[in-house]
């Protein structure tokens, strides 16, 4: 039973981190209409900055120092990610959809390539993040894990609520107007540059926050965690979720659940040959399923017809 609780709590943490990451992409793509393939770069910045600050922790340092470094790492991570986002603001205004996607992809891949080639950042192996949080081990494992799960779920909920509130605010409506029809919006006095600044600040910031949390909770960061496929998957969740905050959370949860389920042979229901096949072909099955879903409902699973226009 404890094993089950352990499993659930650990996955809750990672699920929450994924949700926060996805919330950032909802701001970037769902609200601002930026066709982004490089958001994993923001998460990487957040993770590596956090890891870097965490490494400043001397062995056996006081809990107060640990807490201070924790806060500092989050600030640095989010700040760094936001800086990266601001870097992309200018290009985003000038580049059309497909080209913008390529530019963001190039941005993220350059980052990853730089990290891979820098020994100080651990290169391909990655960095071990010094633990600033109490280790969840021994008898205290479940309660501590539970606290982490609670904290991360709370943060995820906060992120989702913030994005939702943004979407409904006057600012959010202006963002969506610019996304729907840029010329008409600009002719009505809405400025693209300001919109992009704000969107990248919040979007990249959320991605960076997810990166920080990931670094601290998983204890290890490597370039492989921030690959193009992971980033594309999150964009997929946002599209499937109809570009809304709540829809995205549902999509994330469902796919996460499916992924785990297939990995565990439908949670132990399918055994033998069929179960083996399921595990082996999990990624292919998921990819095929998601393609089919997208082809069926390209605007999100709950929006049957064309409510929104394309960025």
């Amino acid at each position: 039973m404890a094993l089950l609780a352990d499993y659930i709590l650990t996955h809750l943490v990672y699920l929450s981190i994924l949700v926060i990451f996805a919330a950032g992409v909802v701001v970037l793509y769902g609200l601002a209409g930026v066709f982004t393939l490089g958001h994993q770069g923001f998460m990487a910045i957040g993770a590596y900055f956090a890891a870097g600050i965490a490494c400043l922790m001397p062995a056996g340092g006081s809990p107060i120092l640990a807490a201070a470094l924790l806060v500092a790492s989050v600030i640095a991570g989010v700040g760094g990610a936001v800086a990266g986002g601001l870097l992309l603001t200018g290009p985003s205004v000038r580049l059309r959809g497909d080209y913008m996607a390529l530019a963001t992809l190039a941005f993220a891949e350059i980052l990853v390539a730089l990290i891979r080639n820098t020994e100080a950042l651990g290169g391909m192996r990655g960095l071990d993040v010094a633990s600033l949080l109490p280790r969840a081990s021994g008898s205290a494992r479940l309660p501590i894990l539970g606290t982490y799960a609670l904290a991360s779920v709370a943060m995820a909920a906060g992120a989702v609520l913030a994005v939702q509130r943004l979407g409904r605010s006057r600012l959010g409506i202006a963002l969506r107007a610019l996304r729907d029809d840029e010329l008409a919006a600009r002719s009505m006095g809405l400025e693209n540059r300001r919109a992009r600044l704000i969107s990248f600040t919040m979007g990249a910031g959320l991605c960076g926050l997810a990166g920080c949390l990931y670094a601290h909770f998983s204890g290890h960061v490597s370039p492989r965690d921030f690959g193009f496929v992971q980033g594309a998957m999150v964009l997929l969740y946002v599209v499937l979720g109809g570009s809304t905050a709540v829809g995205t959370v549902c999509a994330v949860a469902v796919v996460y659940f499916l992924d785990e389920g297939l990995k565990l042979r439908c949670f132990g229901l399918l055994t033998g040959g069929l179960g083996d096949a399921l595990v082996n072909w999990k990624d292919a099955i998921l990819a095929g399923l998601l393609i089919a879903l997208l082809a069926w409902r390209p605007y999100g699973l709950l929006t049957a017809n064309r409510l929104r226009s394309e960025p």
Partner: protein, 269 residues
């Protein structure tokens, strides 16, 4: 909409203010073809000017140049006396120019009330803090905007559809929403690109009434590109005839129309 309004064109006094919108020798080439060649015009405050001409004569190009959507290859645009060349459409909007589009351009993911409200001038719109924290002043601003938006929708008779998306509206109704959105700008001049296209007689009359009303009430200048002369007859003070990118004739609407008919060989007497 009742017929209590004067259908005839209103009279405005000559003023000595600078024209709200002016273009001087505007020229635009597409490839090797001159879409517009040395076209000049001035719109005094409160005047309604109609622009007529065949398809391809350059009417939409002129409108695009006057609103900042495209840049002239030669010539200058002035808003309220200020030169505006090279500025973005948003800058034109802030300077007091509003417009509608030939091919309807509304925001499909927004309700029609949101469509109208998003165009309202407001400095606090771009504050992330206000948006996220949503304090009392922000709520107040939202309500204020909403009230003004509803008033505009009432003007075009669509108040009860405020929460609808544009997909639920007829084409004529959508054109009216676009008009309401342009009016939300509180501009000094509104440029309308075939505002009555696709409307039935009822809707057209409604549109006309609205335009006359706001022109009188707000002293709002209008530039109307239209094929339907009936609309212009009712409300335009002046007309401009464009053909092959040049101004052929300018003056009182009736005389311009007569000239057009004359050139087409239609006997008007």
């Amino acid at each position: 909409m009742s017929g209590a309004l004067e259908p005839e064109r209103p009279h405005t006094e000559l003023s000595h203010e600078p024209p709200v919108l002016a273009g001087s020798r505007l020229t635009k080439f597409y490839g090797g073809v001159a879409a517009l060649e040395r076209v000049s015009l001035e719109i005094p405050p409160g005047e309604v000017i109609g622009v007529v001409g065949a398809n391809g004569a350059g009417k939409s190009t002129l409108l695009n140049l006057l609103t900042g959507a495209i840049r002239p290859d030669d010539g200058e645009v002035y808003v309220g006396g200020r030169p505006m060349n090279g500025q973005s459409p948003a800058a034109f909007a802030h300077a007091g120019v509003a417009r509608t589009f030939q091919k309807l351009r509304l925001f499909p993911s927004l309700t029609i009330l949101e469509n109208v409200c998003v165009a309202m001038p407001s400095t606090e719109r771009w504050s992330l803090r206000s948006a996220l924290l949503r304090g009392r002043s922000e709520v107040g601003r939202e309500e204020d905007e909403r009230a003004r938006g509803l008033a505009l929708l009432r003007l075009v008779g669509l108040e009860d559809r405020a929460k609808h998306l544009i997909g639920n509206l007829t084409y004529g109704q959508r054109r009216l929403v676009e008009l309401a959105r342009a009016l939300a700008r509180e501009a000094s001049v509104v440029l309308l690109d075939e505002p009555a296209a696709g409307m039935n007689a009822n809707e057209e009359r409604q549109l006309c009434d609205v335009l006359i009303r706001i022109n009188q009430a707000r002293h709002l200048a209008l530039l109307i590109v239209e094929h339907r002369w009936a609309l212009l007859r009712r409300m335009a003070h002046r007309a401009l005839w464009l053909s092959d990118g040049r101004v052929v004739q300018e003056g009182a609407p009736e005389s311009v129309f007569a000239a057009i008919l004359d050139s087409a060989g239609v006997i008007t007497r």
